[in-house]
């Protein structure tokens, strides 16, 4: 298990009911962690339409997580 902080934006923040939270997880990658969190809060968006940032920079979904990471989940952008 690792200890990370998850940060939620826009519709994800509203679904989660908080801007960020400490999470202990057995997920090894950003993708696994997203799926875990999305399942918990019922995020409706497909992961490939979302983005993740780790410690302040956009990251690939297969990035490995480490204890202490700040993981930011971005729902689909406004676009248009």
């Amino acid at each position: 298990m690792i200890d990370v902080t998850a940060h939620y934006f826009a519709v994800f923040r509203e679904r989660a009911g908080c801007e960020s939270e400490a999470v202990s997880t057995s997920s090894q990658t950003a993708a696994e962690f997203f799926d875990e969190i999305a399942g918990r809060y019922g995020f409706a968006d497909r992961r490939d339409r979302c983005k993740v940032a780790i410690n302040g920079a956009l990251a690939a979904w297969d990035s490995a997580l480490a204890s202490g990471d700040e993981v930011l989940f971005f729902p689909p952008v406004a676009g248009g």
Binding site: F9, A10, G56, F74, A78
Partner: protein, 150 residues
């Protein structure tokens, strides 16, 4: 290098921004402004709220501008996206480019706004006259104007 892209909570001032594009060897200037519309997908909109991750959005915006300068023969290129609560008619995003010739200026301006819209972590929440709100994204929009990226 001077900053070429900014996220701001203040009103955008296109006229001041445009002056940064001036140069003796620039013959063409193309600007794009995105304005808050009163109607989206048939719903009457009262106001909009833009949320962002400022640091990542600004960095990604700078990257888009740098790509445009690589791809097109430009003199200068700048962009600004406003966040927070906006009213109908407010300018939400501004992009301006100057170039020796207009072909490059049009192509680059379009490239920049298309990429900004699709890549920057900026989310839009519409407040409707009837009191409801909704987060808007590409998937929720009708496909009247499909993106070249999708």
């Amino acid at each position: 290098m001077a900053k070429t892209f900014a996220i701001t909570a203040e009103p955008i001032d296109p006229d001041t921004l445009k002056r940064r594009l001036e140069a003796d060897h620039a013959g063409a200037c193309v600007t794009f402004e995105g304005w808050v519309r009163s109607l989206n997908e048939g719903e009457a909109v009262d106001a909009l709220e833009y949320e962002t991750h400022s640091a990542i959005a600004a960095r990604e915006g700078e990257a888009v501008i740098a790509e445009a300068r690589e791809r097109f023969a430009l003199v200068a290129a700048e962009g600004v996206h406003r966040v927070g609560k906006l009213a109908i008619g407010d300018c939400a995003v501004w992009v301006g480019v100057s170039a020796a010739h207009r072909g490059a200026a049009f192509d680059a301006c379009r490239y920049i706004i298309d990429e900004i819209k699709h890549r920057l972590p900026i989310w839009k929440k519409e407040h409707y006259e009837k009191g409801a709100t909704a987060w808007i994204n590409c998937a929720t929009q009708a496909t009247s104007e499909p993106s070249p990226l999708e």
